[in-house]
Symmetry: C2
Subunit: 206 residues, 2 copies
DNA sequence: TAGATTGTTAATCGATTAACAATC
DNA sequence: TAGATTGTTAATCGATTAACAATC
């Protein structure tokens, strides 16, 4: 693997390749080319080859890429060749939907805990999980060593909760609250805000 | 307004500025600078000035930007100075969570219909909405003139459903299904896939 | 072998940043 | 006026694309 620093924009495309390759493998395909993969993900063949070649020579001239081999390599690069425990903070509608989502486990994630500060929700069962008290969150997350959180709480309390998550050792946050979070440089945040995503498209609507 | 084609990467930042300005306005602030706004959204002051200046001269040297004026202008540019009807396709957990989400209305969107093909869900009430039969979707969406859809169905049926949406006149799709959609060039798609977003961050986790 | 496709280089294209005159 | 901050230009930086030798 290349020791140089890989641009984040390349890293951001790898999960898309991974997902498409997983889909191809599910369909029984054995090999693919940068051309074919590009058509599936809407990215040029040249860019796919360049992206992949940052990490090694995984293809063969004339025949392309072995899907299962490239899957293994991408999972290894993205570190999803293991199962990451994650927590959910906020047991509202969105927290519930994520807690019940079946799509995490075969993509490398396991929802291990869910927290809320609403007394009426604490103790409630969601599938295998029981809603725990946010007051105990820092302690429990520290003890668990969990590094990844999904935030599904109101924007008003998102920053203070983020500060607690960082204190608890969380290093990656998937933020569903419609607010920009301030975090130390070693903490990553990804934003999911449906209204913001929709507003990116209305510009083009007549 | 500038008649030149504005790069999509600039358009994609405007909703983030809009959200931050709305937050500032809610806090009672009247004016801001590119410097201050930049600190809120994690973008350089120079870039914010350059982005905004694509559309006109909305600031004043020495004093910065009037928040309410810039809000008005950004809403106008993004066309969210009106209320867009949107539909939800798929009344599972995620569809339910979006149907109940309170954050759309003051960002320019109104959930007008929700569809599912599961007989046990059709007729079910979700807030003010009643789940309708996907079989009637094309007809009803055509009649309504609605242009925007949120897709919360399994990946296996996402492409065929997308084809129907396009036929029905939908021009913007917020896709929660973990699959790349193939659409004509005049249709926009935004992707929300929590597993993909998480996989973008595990690369950086130890 | 002939055809296909990779990995990589160089050229192009586009986005970001730094700097500063204009001006509120 | 003095200080602050915009809008814009030019320079820098980075990403994408095109092309092709290498080779399966």
């Amino acid at each position: 693997m290349n020791a140089d620093k890989i641009p984040d924009i390349i890293i951001s495309r790898l999960p898309v390749y991974l997902r498409a390759l997983q889909h191809m493998a599910d369909q029984g395909m054995r090999t693919t080319s940068s051309q074919e993969l590009g058509e599936h993900v809407g990215i040029s063949a040249a860019q796919i080859r360049k992206d992949i070649s940052q990490f090694g020579e995984f293809g063969k001239q004339g025949t392309g890429y072995s899907i299962s081999y490239l899957l293994d390599k991408l999972r290894e690069i993205l570190k999803v060749d293991r199962l990451w425990d994650v927590i959910i903070v906020g047991a509202g509608d969105m927290g519930h939907a994520l807690a019940r989502y079946q799509g995490f486990v075969n993509r490398g994630f396991n929802v291990a805990m869910i927290f809320d500060n609403d007394k009426s929700k604490i103790g409630q069962k969601i599938g295998d999980l029981t809603v725990e008290d946010t007051a105990e969150m820092v302690e429990k997350v520290k003890a668990s060593g969990i590094r990844i959180a999904m935030l599904t709480i109101p924007a008003t309390v998102a920053q203070e909760t983020t500060d607690k998550l960082v204190e608890a050792g969380i290093r990656a946050i998937l933020n569903y609250a419609p607010i920009n979070l301030i975090v130390p440089p070693d903490v990553r945040v990804q934003y999911i805000d449906p209204a913001t995503h929709l507003q990116r498209m209305t510009y083009y609507c007549e």
